[in-house]
């Protein structure tokens, strides 16, 4: 299985060779090989990368095809938007098709801001045969000239990551080049361009949502993403990015009232979305401004109708920003829901205290270790940390704090 997959894959997207063991599950042989996907180790699900390596690890290797990832936005929607862009950028690099829907910015705005991939060892497809290579930024070519032998060695990672490489890294400070971006086929849904006619039916769904669902269904049927579609032509993955669902711009009043009138609109839409995805080769990321939603029971229901759910809590604008505990991080990440698909036991993360930070080249999620006590002097802080390491050492193995004491 591994060999044919690689031969298909290596032209477009580099999917690191699977950890080759002689044991292979029977189910793998049935899977369709699509660039940028890999089968799950646990249950043979087809996975795609979210574009954020540590998030892939957290979700059990990647996002299973046919599922929804819900991201509860941070207060200024900066980091959640970033993850959405990572997800779309990964789709561009893997040559998946995209579907972007938004009510606030035009989908083109979102697409123009996609981060640029760092393609050190990845043979990227370029639509034109390398015309810009001469004045390309050198860091991708000249990097690591001295230590070239170590180029392909895995880095020592404090962040959450699996051993095998899956997905790509991105440079947030640069935008993706237009020609790479335009090579990807993208379907756009911009709500103001879809005049909603008020239908006489008493559907619990809002017109905006049902228009979106209809448009999604049309794309899936027209482009042949259904699982039942004929196998004759090569299959591809549809990546769906839905931005800020539930906000007032979608015509929803979830954020305005305690007991909203359209309280079932979003949940009904998510139910329809799940039904669509389960029968097609597509995967969706949905962001929701959950901090605006007053009704916690409603938010719980929304979470329950998505397969994966994470919440971002940025320190921006809160007093935590100045707290020395969090000085290394940009915010906290909460895992609200992990998927249980085709298996009885869901794959639980081993750790739930997580924090994230956005570096120039990487959005990384790390285990957050709080030292047991904060004291006045620096030396006592470090001693406290040491005690903390000894205490939790068995649980976290070679966690982040382990490395700090090497210089003693």
């Amino acid at each position: 299985m591994a060999a044919p997959v690689n031969s298909v894959v290596n032209s477009s997207a580099k999917c690191s060779s699977f950890n080759a063991t002689s044991f292979q599950k029977k189910t793998r042989s049935r899977l369709i090989s699509i660039p940028g996907t890999r089968p799950s180790v646990q249950n043979g699900q087809l996975l795609v990368s979210t574009g954020v390596t540590s998030l892939d690890y957290l979700l059990g290797g990647g996002l299973a095809v046919g599922t929804v990832l819900l991201i509860e936005e941070d207060r200024y929607d900066s980091y959640s938007r970033m993850i959405l862009k990572y997800f779309l950028a990964e789709g561009v690099v893997c040559r998946h098709e995209l579907f972007v829907a938004s009510a606030q910015h035009t989908p083109d705005d979102i697409l123009q801001e996609l981060p640029s991939p760092i393609l050190d060892d990845v043979a990227i497809h370029k639509p034109v045969e390398q015309p810009r290579l001469s004045h390309e930024p050198q860091d991708s070519l000249d990097a690591m000239k001295i230590a070239w032998r170590y180029q392909n060695l895995p880095k020592v990672q404090t962040a959450l990551a699996s051993s095998s490489r899956f997905g790509h890294y991105y440079d947030v400070s640069k935008m993706m080049e237009a020609e790479i971006r335009e090579a990807a086929k993208c379907h756009r849904f911009y709500l103001p361009e879809h005049p909603t006619q008020s239908s006489p039916t008493h559907s619990p769904m809002l017109e905006s949502y049902s228009a979106l669902l209809k448009s999604l269904r049309d794309v899936i049927q027209r482009e042949g993403f259904e699982v039942t579609a004929p196998m004759s032509k090569s299959r591809n993955i549809l990546r769906i990015g839905l931005h800020s669902l539930g906000s007032t711009l979608w015509g929803d009043d979830l954020c305005c009232h305690d007991n909203p009138r359209h309280g079932h609109a979003l949940t009904t839409f998510l139910y329809g979305l799940r039904a669509l995805l389960r029968s097609s080769l597509s995967v969706a990321v949905v962001t929701v401004p959950s901090h605006l939603i007053q009704n916690r029971a409603l938010m719980g229901r929304i979470t329950r109708l998505c397969d994966n759910a994470i919440a971002l809590e940025s320190f921006k604008g809160s007093e935590r920003e100045a707290n020395p505990l969090y000085k290394d991080y940009h915010g906290l990440l909460h895992v609200r829901q992990v998927p249980h698909l085709n298996c009885l036991a869901s794959q639980l993360p081993d750790h739930k205290d997580l924090a994230f930070k956005l570096k120039r080249k990487q959005f990384s999620i790390e285990r957050l270790h709080l030292p047991p006590d904060l004291s006045e002097t620096v030396s006592r802080v470090s001693r406290g940390e040491l005690a903390g390491t000894a205490m939790v050492g068995s649980a976290c193995g070679s966690g982040t704090s382990g490395n700090k004491h090497l210089d003693f």
């Binding site: 249950n43 039916t201 008493h202 559907s203 619990p204 769904m205 049902s210 669902l213 209809k214 269904r217 305690d258 007991n259 309280g263 079932h264 949940t267 009904t268 139910y271 329809g272 799940r274 039904a275 669509l276 389960r278 029968s279 009704n295 916690r296 029971a297 409603l298 938010m299 719980g300 229901r301 329950r304 109708l305 249980h340 698909l341 085709n342 298996c343 009885l344 036991a345 869901s346 639980l348 081993d350 739930k352």
Partner: protein
């Protein structure tokens, strides 16, 4: 089917009490592993099973039951199992295709959701009493035992805009016809959101539904997260509540177990006796 749970509940596929209304509730923790248990249990007990799978697709249930040693596709073929795939049916209601004259069971979605769940009840009613579940085994079709209704899960109905009252009516009708008339069993799963403190304003809420269902049921399994927080080796606790009328009066009994879900089953143990801490 989890043998440990069978011994806790003192039942087995060969001998189980009929006429039970079993409620499975989940709070801060996923209780769907119990619905898989009951599905495989009743299929092994050779009951005629009607399964309303509203949460996941058929392939999911089929894959899980495969691990538990039961084939849903075969059961469907032998007409032992009637499976309503809520996702597919729902989609055809949301986006009406040209010529889909499908199931009417989920027609409550298309019209005013206040209509109620009569059609869904009619579907249940007709599927448990359809031929194949009947007495005659003349045309080679096998003969199945008492009818069983399984619902996964009721909170989806609430999310789709059905009122708690309508769901309570539905469950009452199901209990009356299946448990009392046909001497079968009903298992319903309900997930509650994390609103332990009473919110009086929320009339539609799952809390109200939960109270109503607890009032109806004779066996309740409440799955909760650990009160002390997340743990990798203990996934939560199950409170088992029996409510039986035995001769002189109500007989109630509660027991609490902690559980861990494995790949092919689940283990239950008394509190604090997990192998991880001993």
């Amino acid at each position: 089917m989890f043998t440990e749970l069978n011994s806790i509940l003192n039942t087995s596929p060969d001998s189980f009490t009929q006429g039970d209304f079993i409620l499975v509730s989940g709070r801060q923790s996923d209780a769907s592993f119990l619905i898989h248990h009951f599905l495989s249990f009743y299929l092994r007990a050779r009951c005629k099973v009607c399964f309303l799978g509203l949460v996941q697709s058929f392939s999911h249930y089929s894959a899980v039951c495969q691990r538990l040693g039961v084939s849903l596709a075969q059961a469907k073929e032998k007409r032992q199992l009637v499976f309503l795939e809520g996702l597919q049916e729902g989609l055809s209601v949301f986006i009406p295709q040209d010529d889909t004259t499908g199931n009417k069971a989920l027609s409550f979605l298309s019209r005013d959701p206040m209509v109620g769940l009569q059609n869904l009840y009619e579907f249940v009613r007709s599927s448990v009493s359809s031929p194949g579940g009947g007495e005659e085994g003349s045309d080679g079709s096998e003969q199945w035992g008492p009818p069983v209704l399984l619902v996964d899960d009721l909170s989806v109905l609430l999310s789709l805009g059905v009122s708690a009252r309508a769901v309570l009516d539905f469950s009452h009708y199901c209990r009356a016809s299946l448990c009392s008339q046909l001497q079968g069993n009903v298992v319903m799963l309900l997930h509650c959101e994390e609103e332990e403190e009473e919110d009086d304003g929320d009339d539609e809420g799952s809390e109200r539904l939960l109270k109503g269902l607890i009032h109806q049921c004779c066996l309740a399994l409440h799955v909760q997260g650990l009160p002390t927080g997340y743990c990798r080796d203990i996934h939560g606790q199950v409170e088992v509540c029996w409510r039986r009328r035995q001769g002189d009066g109500q007989h109630t009994q509660n027991k609490v177990f902690q559980y861990k879900v494995h790949d092919k089953g689940a283990s239950f143990f008394a509190r604090g006796t997990s192998s991880a801490v001993l």
